[in-house]
C-alpha cells in the first residue's frame, strides 16, 4: 500500500494525497482540530454492490479501491467461526422460526426464545454461547497485523446488545416487556452485554497494538424520530453501552457509535457516554441534516457519515454529490468524517457517485 505518499498537488482527483496521515487526519477530526482535508470512510459495500464498484474503478478488490479513493478507515470484521453465518452479529439463535442466517436477513421481529418467559430467574434456560469457543483469536491478530498501520484500523464489533435483546423476545414483545416487566428485559440484555464484553476482551487482547478504533452500536432511530423514548434508553440500554465504551477506552481505542435514523434527542447522551464519533448521520431523517447537527453539536463531538444514501447517492447526479460534499466541508471544516449515511453501500448507488464523493472530499 502506498498511503504515506505526500503530494502537494491536492487538486488532482482520486489519489491526491494530503499532508496528514490517515491517522492524524482522523484524530484531528474527532478532536475538532484543523485538518488538511476531511477524513473519510467508504463504508462496507454489500456483496451485490462489489462487482460494479470493482469494474468501474478498474480494481481487483475493495482494498485496492480504498487505496484509490484514499479513505482513512480500515474496517476489520471480527472472525467468528459459527456457521453458517460466521458472523458475530448472528451469535444468538433466538428466533423460533427458521430464516436465512445472515446479518442482512435476520429479522428482529420474529418470535424469540424468551417470547413467553416472564421470570428473570429463567434467563439461563437459554444456551448462552461462550464467545471463546467461536471467536478466532489467532485470525483476529493476523487480520489486525496485516492491516496497513497508517490506516485507522477499526474493529467492527457492533455489539448490538439492544437489537439482540429485541430479537431475544421478538421486537414487539421485547419493547412491551421493557415497560411491563423491566426485570426480565434487564436480565436478558445484561446477559447479552456480558457476552459482548467477553468477546470484545478476546478481540482487543488479540489485536493489542494493532487496533485504533471500534465501531459499536444499535439502531435507535426511525426516519421521523426515535423508536424508543430517551428515558427508557437511558434506563435499560445505555448502562450496557457505557460498559462497552469504557472497555474499549481501557484499550485506548476510539469509539465510533452507530445508530441509524433520527436520534437527535440522545446525541448528548452518547457524548456523555464517551463516544468519539457518531455514525452514520442519516441526513434525510428528522433533525439529522448537517446544518442542524452543526448548530446543536459542533465542537462537542464528531460525526461520521452525512452523505445521504436514501436519495442523493442513489438518484443524484455526480455534480449534485460534489455540491453536497462541498457544503458538508463548509459546515464542518473538521469534526466530520465524510461517509455515506449508511455503511452498507447498496447496489443501487452508481459507482460514478462514489467517485464524485471522494473527488470532492480529496480536492
Amino acid at each position: 500500500m502506498e498511503n504515506k505518499i505526500n503530494n502537494s498537488n491536492l487538486s488532482s482527483p482520486l489519489g491526491a494525497r494530503g499532508s496528514m496521515t490517515h491517522k492524524e487526519r482522523f484524530l484531528a477530526t474527532i478532536a475538532n482540530q484543523p485538518v488538511d482535508r476531511p477524513a473519510s470512510w467508504l463504508g462496507l459495500p454489500v456483496p451485490a454492490a462489489v462487482p460494479g464498484l470493482l469494474e468501474y474503478f478498474k480494481v481487483n478488490s475493495i482494498d485496492e479501491l480504498k487505496i484509490k479513493l484514499d479513505d482513512d478507515i480500515y474496517p476489520i470484521e471480527v472472525p467468528y467461526n459459527f456457521p453458517p453465518s460466521n458472523h458475530i452479529a448472528c451469535a444468538f439463535k433466538f428466533a423460533k422460526v427458521s430464516h436465512d442466517d445472515k446479518p442482512d436477513e435476520r429479522t428482529l421481529t420474529a418470535p424469540g426464545f424468551f417470547e413467553d418467559i416472564d421470570d428473570p430467574t429463567l434467563v439461563d434456560t437459554f444456551p448462552w454461547p461462550d464467545p471463546a469457543l467461536y471467536l478466532d483469536v489467532e485470525a483476529s491478530r493476523r487480520l489486525a497485523m496485516a492491516a496497513n498501520p497508517d490506516y485507522v484500523r477499526m474493529g467492527v464489533m457492533w455489539s448490538a446488545h439492544f437489537q439482540d435483546a429485541c430479537a431475544a423476545f421478538g421486537m414487539e414483545k421485547a419493547l412491551m416487556v421493557m415497560l411491563m416487566n423491566p426485570d426480565m428485559f434487564t436480565a436478558v440484555i445484561d446477559r447479552i452485554t456480558e457476552f459482548y464484553l467477553k468477546a470484545n476482551e478476546l478481540f482487543y487482547e488479540a489485536t493489542k497494538g494493532y487496533l485504533d478504533a471500534v465501531l459499536i452500536g444499535n439502531d435507535f432511530g426511525s426516519q421521523n424520530g426515535l423508536m424508543v423514548d430517551p428515558d427508557s434508553l437511558r434506563t435499560y440500554v445505555f448502562p450496557g453501552t457505557k460498559k462497552l465504551i469504557d472497555q474499549a477506552k481501557r484499550y485506548g481505542l476510539k469509539v465510533i457509535h452507530h445508530s441509524c435514523g433520527s436520534i437527535y434527542p440522545i446525541i448528548q447522551d452518547l457524548i456523555e457516554l464517551g463516544v468519539d464519533s457518531i455514525h452514520p448521520i442519516q441526513a434525510l431523517a428528522a433533525d439529522m441534516d448537517a446544518q442542524t447537527l452543526k448548530k446543536g453539536f459542533a465542537g462537542k463531538t464528531s460525526f461520521c457519515g452525512g452523505v445521504d444514501a436514501q436519495h442523493l447517492l442513489v438518484n443524484g447526479k455526480p455534480n449534485e454529490i460534489t455540491a453536497k460534499v462541498h457544503e458538508l466541508k463548509q459546515l464542518f471544516p473538521t469534526g466530520l468524517i465524510i461517509s455515506p449515511s449508511h455503511e452498507a453501500i447498496l447496489p443501487d448507488i452508481p459507482p460514478a457517485n462514489v467517485e464524485a464523493m471522494f473527488n470532492a472530499i480529496n480536492s
Binding site: E105, T107, L108, T109, M171, E172, L175, M176, M178, L179, M180, N181, S222, Q223, N224, G225, L226, M227, V228, D229, S232, L284, A309, Q310, H311, V314, L346, P347, D348
Partner: protein
C-alpha cells in the same frame, strides 16, 4: 355510567393498560384494564358499536397523534395496540354476526425483497384500531400474493410498505398487477425512503408518512 365506562376504556387504550394483571402504566397498577372494562361495558348494555367508535377508535386516534408528534414511541404505541386488542377480542363475535360493521378490509404487506416490518406492523395495528379488518400478508410479499389477496377480497384497500431504496422500486409492478387484477382497488404506500411525489409517480392512490396520515387518507376514501 355507560359514558363513564367508555371514558375509562378509552383511557386504558390511550395509556396502554391491557388488563388488571398488567403493571403498566405504573399509575394504573391494580386497576382494571381494557379487557375487564370492555366485559363490564357489554354487560352493562353498552353496544359493541359504541365501544368501537366512542372508545377504541377515538383512543387510538389520540395515540396516533401523539406518536406522530414524538410524544410517545414504539413501546407505548404497542401497549396501546395491545390494550385495544384486549378489548377488541370481546367484539369479535359481533363482527362475525354482522351486528357491528367495520369500515372495510385492509390488506397490507412489505414489498418483495424487503424484510422490514416494524413500521408495517404498527400501521396495521393502527388501521385495526381505526375500525378496519386487517389482512397482513407479512414481509417479502411477492406480486402474486398481493394479487391473490385482492382477488379474494375485491373491495379491499391495499397498503404496501418499503424501507429500502432497492425495494421501493418494486412497488410499481405490484401496484400495476393489483390494478390490472381488480381495477378499482385503491392502494396506499409508506415507509422511510418514500415521499408523496414518489407515491404518485408509481400510481399509488395515497401515501402516509406516518400511521396518522395513512388513517386520515383511509377515512377520506371510505367516507
Amino acid at each position: 355510567m355507560n359514558q363513564e365506562l367508555l371514558e375509562k376504556l378509552s383511557e386504558c387504550v390511550e395509556f396502554g393498560k391491557i388488563n388488571l394483571a398488567s403493571p403498566y402504566p405504573p399509575q394504573m397498577k391494580g386497576m382494571p384494564g381494557a379487557d375487564e372494562i370492555t366485559k363490564e361495558a357489554l354487560e352493562a348494555g353498552v353496544t359493541p358499536g359504541e365501544i368501537l367508535n366512542e372508545a377504541l377508535i377515538s383512543a387510538m386516534n389520540k395515540v396516533g397523534q401523539k406518536f406522530s408528534e414524538n410524544k410517545i414511541f414504539v413501546p407505548q404505541m404497542l401497549l396501546s395496540a395491545k390494550a385495544m386488542s384486549a378489548s377488541m377480542i370481546h367484539l369479535k363475535p359481533f363482527f362475525a354476526n354482522g351486528s357491528v360493521k367495520r369500515k372495510g378490509i385492509f390488506i397490507i404487506g412489505t414489498v418483495f425483497g424487503d424484510l422490514h416490518d416494524i413500521g408495517k406492523n404498527l400501521f396495521s395495528m393502527m388501521v385495526e384500531g381505526a375500525g378496519w379488518e386487517v389482512i397482513d400478508l407479512g414481509i417479502d410479499v411477492k406480486i402474486e400474493k398481493f394479487v391473490e389477496a385482492v382477488q379474494q377480497n375485491p373491495n379491499a384497500v391495499v397498503g404496501i410498505s418499503a424501507l429500502l431504496t432497492t425495494t421501493m422500486v418494486h412497488m410499481k409492478p405490484v401496484i400495476e398487477a393489483i390494478k390490472s387484477a381488480v381495477p378499482e382497488t385503491k392502494v396506499i404506500v409508506g415507509g422511510a425512503p418514500l415521499s408523496a411525489e414518489f407515491a404518485a409517480s408509481i400510481g399509488a392512490d395515497g401515501y402516509g408518512k406516518n400511521p396518522q396520515e395513512g388513517i386520515l387518507w383511509l377515512d377520506k376514501i371510505s367516507a
